[in-house]
């Protein structure tokens, strides 16, 4: 059976959507600022300025799967993540926060930022549950906001699963597709 499809439409839409054409750094910062103001505190500001992440960064991310597929990744130092979780919990924060609380807090911030990033991307798409750990490797298709919160470095990157940089030294065996 022939459908008479010349393949022209497929070729025209073959290229994956690139995140740089869908969202910019200022929109990412603005979405994050809204989350910070509502959840961390009214007077908590994210300053668009690159800083240096400490040697012990921790990341939380959510995946978006749809016409654009990738992850929204929030990365900061462990101490920053602890302070953020303490601010989220406020009077319910225990004197010593355990790893679970810190990961829960950072994961929820990534979830809220990710959900709002998803809302400005073409749909329909599905948002994954937050994950915490070592960030998925950034690809060429990435929009990244370098921010400072209380003088501490924090980055939010919206990184596509397409458009990988070709690196002959990259170990592809350990790569987990998004």
């Amino acid at each position: 059976m022939s459908f008479g499809d010349t393949g022209e439409r497929r070729r025209a839409s073959d290229g994956p959507l690139l995140i740089s054409g869908l969202i910019d750094e200022e929109t990412v910062r603005s979405i994050a600022q809204e989350a910070w103001s509502a959840l961390v505190g009214e007077c908590e500001f994210l300053v668009p300025q690159p800083g240096e992440l400490p040697a012990d960064p921790v990341s939380a991310w959510v995946e978006v799967v749809g016409p654009w597929t990738g992850a929204v990744v929030l990365t900061c130092g462990r101490s920053t993540a602890e302070q953020l979780s303490r601010e989220l919990l406020k009077e319910h924060a225990p004197s010593v926060l355990d790893d679970e609380d810190i990961e829960d807090g950072l994961g929820e911030l990534a979830n809220v930022v990710g959900g709002n990033v998803k809302a400005v991307l073409p749909g329909p798409s599905v948002l994954g549950l937050p994950e915490v750990g070592t960030a998925p490797q950034a690809r060429a298709d990435t929009v990244r906001a370098d921010l400072l919160w209380r003088g501490q470095s924090l980055t939010i990157s919206v990184q596509g699963s397409a458009g990988a940089l070709t690196d002959p030294h990259e170990n592809h065996e350990n790569e987990v597709p998004l």
Partner: protein, 120 residues
């Protein structure tokens, strides 16, 4: 009045409970559930007057919980508090019988806007 707050994040459950208090709903009993399955069980055992539920949760999503409640004949008032507030999600929520969808991040004003009239 008893309110069931369902979210797999303990931090977010605390934020929802704090925001309820800031919005003036501070004299109600709060029950917490850590996923949709827990919420479904607690609607049966705790008999809340309102469910505030996250959408995206492990084990059972908030939507699956709502559908299971309505299938079992429960008409408990149910609202979503979720990080996704697209028109498509709001339509799905309304079609399934949710009273409202509050998108994260929210403020006490957002809570007042949706809950006045629902919470006595």
């Amino acid at each position: 009045m008893k309110i069931l707050v369902a979210d797999d994040s303990r931090v977010m459950r605390q934020i929802v409970i704090r925001t309820l208090r800031q919005a003036g709903y501070d004299d109600h009993d709060i029950v917490e559930a850590e996923d949709g399955a827990d919420a479904l069980a607690k609607v049966s055992s705790e008999k809340p007057d309102l469910v505030l539920s996250d959408w995206n949760m492990p084990n059972m999503t908030g939507m699956e919980c709502l559908q299971a409640l309505r299938s079992s004949g429960s008409a408990v008032p149910f609202g979503f508090v979720t990080s996704e507030g697209s028109p498509e999600m709001r339509e799905k929520a309304a079609d399934a019988g949710a009273l409202f969808l509050i998108a994260k991040p929210f403020t006490e004003d957002t809570f007042k806007e949706h809950l006045d009239g629902v919470i006595a």
